[in-house]
């Protein structure tokens, strides 16, 4: 064997070995993060976490933060879903291959990874500041403002999946309906949306998973509240915000509660993405 051949073989083995190592490193960090979240989270899990509020500090629970998270996420999804689905419909059905459509699709892709803290500041400027001016009072942070901030983050996810899912619907379906004289809006609202339904729901679930862990945009919009708040115009706390607050506190008891909160958030997000994945794969199979 020539030395060149040997060198090439060694290079190849080395490269393959390093790529396996890289994968192992990635998996090791995944396992490490999940393991610590599980371990620290489960050991701090208590029934009182779900029944008491954060006003009692270390003796309290996270109930108001969990309720706040649910309300804020619900507002975010309730705003983003209709707007996102309709925008996606426009991109796929009306503006496919037009200049404006292509540029909005392009910018939407950029918005997908835009810094979420800037979105928080944006909502602070357009909702929190004006409402402070109206009430003449102290700054009026609100759960609603938090919901709007999350809606801005969910929006591009929903737009993108709706757009993609609609474009996957076979064009024979459109042609058949149009040849029967169905107007395009009825075609879109009654036929195409059903064909793409599970894909669109997947997008909404993904968006929900994405916003459930968001912290940065809530800091200056929903702000936080140590008491149970059910009215969206009040300040509202959320799980990620409480985790942030408790983890930065010097008290070890609060750290344990932060881990419990982190465990709840992580489980929620992972189950959501699992659910969306299952839904999507079932959808794929049924089309084959």
């Amino acid at each position: 064997m020539s030395s060149l051949y040997l060198r090439r073989r060694i290079t190849n083995w080395l490269a393959m070995g390093l790529s396996t190592l890289a994968t192992l490193i990635g998996l090791a960090f995944l396992a490490w993060i999940l393991w610590e979240t599980l371990r620290q989270g489960i050991s701090a899990l208590h029934l009182s976490l779900f029944t008491k509020i954060t006003a009692n500090g270390a003796d309290g629970g996270l109930a108001n933060a969990m309720v706040g998270s649910l309300i804020i996420n619900f507002i975010g999804i309730a705003i983003a879903t209709p707007i996102g689905v309709m925008a996606g419909m426009w991109l796929a059905e009306y503006a496919n291959r037009t200049k404006l459509g292509e540029s909005i699709r392009f910018l939407n892709d950029i918005l997908l990874s835009a810094p979420s803290i800037v979105m928080g500041l944006f909502v602070y400027t357009i909702i929190v500041l004006p409402s402070t001016a109206i009430t003449n009072g102290s700054t009026t942070f609100s759960g609603f403002a938090g919901g709007v901030a999350l809606a801005l983050i969910a929006l591009p996810v929903i737009v993108r999946t709706t757009d993609e899912m609609l474009r996957l619907v076979p064009s024979t379906l459109r042609e058949a309906a149009l040849s029967l004289g169905v107007p395009q809006w009825k075609l879109t609202m009654q036929i195409l949306i059903r064909a793409a339904r599970s894909g669109i729901i997947t997008g909404v679930l993904l968006a929900l998973a994405r916003i459930s862990g968001e912290t940065a945009p809530l800091l200056f919009t929903a702000f936080g509240n140590n008491y149970m708040a059910l009215n969206p115009i009040d300040k509202m706390s959320s799980l990620p915000q409480i985790i942030y607050q408790y983890a930065n506190d010097p008290g070890a008891d609060l750290h344990a509660m932060a881990w419990a909160g982190a465990f709840v958030v992580t489980m929620f997000v992972l189950l959501l993405s699992l659910a969306s994945r299952l839904l999507f794969s079932r959808n794929k199979v049924s089309h084959d």
Binding site: T11, M16, T23, G84, W90, L91, P115, V118, G213, F220
Partner: protein, 338 residues
């Protein structure tokens, strides 16, 4: 069918088609309005932060960008320290994440047995689903102490210019800059390097999934031709697959960079929040996003305006980075005729 019935249905039909046309117009405008909202949120975010930062920009002018001052006592603010922290942590993240992501993509597309590919790929994608605050907590409570106990002492004594025992290593003496980069007498783990590592773990799934996807678009006949000529797997990957997908791979890297630049929570926890400029990667620092997260709710006046100005800078820079990313990704798609 009688004549009168036919006349009625003709009128019906006409009315119906008018109604349909009206509904169609309305529907079209509604949809277009929603799509324009996407555009509005982008412009709005840029406009709102620029408007909020106008006072800082007009007070400090260009000095805002180059000044290291951040002094609420004297109301003097400059962006250089947070900008340096953002750029440095993101660069460290890229230096670590790009080779690892390439390795993962290579493993998943060339090395791994077929039955292992889907589960491993799903596991890596799971990393992308973990909320950033969890990365932050893990970094703060688990990784930073681990780093301070096991990795940092080795780095400071073997590479740094401030070793505990006072004896400079050969590398610190002979290789320029290395000593400064790794020299530190700060006792805790939280630092620019740790923030960079945590960011790297966060962006690995993004970069590797883009790379894996584009590697799969390489025509099989290209690879098979190279294999038929006797190439090894590595040679096919490095000389055929990578050049073919170069623009998209760069796009994926920029996508990861865009994520890293704008990340708030993961970084805020592990950066140490020091408003000082230090050459050492082992010293604490700050980033644009974490400065905003830490100070905005208590800031007022010029400080608040400066934070808004920082947010504007961050938004513009990430926009440009992500723009480049999407353009690069699109180049491969157009090559394929998609």
């Amino acid at each position: 069918m009688s004549a009168s019935q036919a006349a009625v249905s003709a009128i019906d039909l006409e009315q119906r088609s008018k109604r349909d046309a009206r509904a169609e117009r309305l529907f079209r405008w509604l949809l277009k309005g929603c799509a324009l909202l996407v555009l509005a949120s982008l412009l709005g975010a840029a406009g709102a932060t620029l408007w909020g930062g106008r006072e800082a920009f007009s007070t400090f002018g260009w000095h805002f960008l180059v000044s290291t001052a951040w002094d609420p006592g004297n109301d003097v603010y400059g962006a250089l320290v947070p900008v340096y922290g953002t750029v440095m942590t993101s660069l460290i993240a890229l230096v670590i994440a790009v080779p690892i992501s390439f390795g993962i993509a290579l493993y998943l597309s060339e090395v791994a047995p077929a039955w292992l590919r889907t589960p491993v790929a799903s596991a890596i994608e799971l990393l992308a689903g973990i909320p950033s605050i969890i990365y932050g907590m893990w970094g703060l409570f688990i990784f930073a102490p681990f780093f301070a106990d096991h990795i940092k002492p080795w780095l400071t004594s073997n590479l740094g210019n401030k070793p505990d025992d006072g004896k400079l290593s050969w590398i610190a003496q002979h290789v320029p800059f290395i000593g400064k980069l790794f020299g530190s007498d700060y006792p805790f783990g939280a630092s620019i390097l740790v923030a960079g590592i945590v960011l790297a773990i966060m962006i690995i799934p993004f970069i590797s999934s883009v790379m894996r996807e584009v590697f799969q678009t390489v025509p099989t006949r290209l690879k098979e031709s190279a294999y038929a000529l006797g190439s090894s797997t590595w040679e096919v990957s490095w000389d055929i697959v990578l050049p073919y997908t170069r623009s998209a791979v760069i796009g994926g890297v920029f996508l990861g960079l865009g994520r890293a630049l704008g990340e708030t929570m993961a970084v805020t926890f592990v950066l140490g929040n020091a408003m000082t400029l230090s050459a050492s990667l082992l010293d604490p620092g700050t980033s644009i996003a974490s400065t905003i997260a830490n100070q905005f709710s208590e800031a007022s006046g010029l400080q608040k305006s400066s934070l808004m100005a920082l947010a504007f800078l961050l938004f513009v820079v990430t926009f440009i980075v992500l723009l480049i990313a999407r353009l690069m990704l699109r180049r491969l798609a157009s090559k394929e005729g998609r």
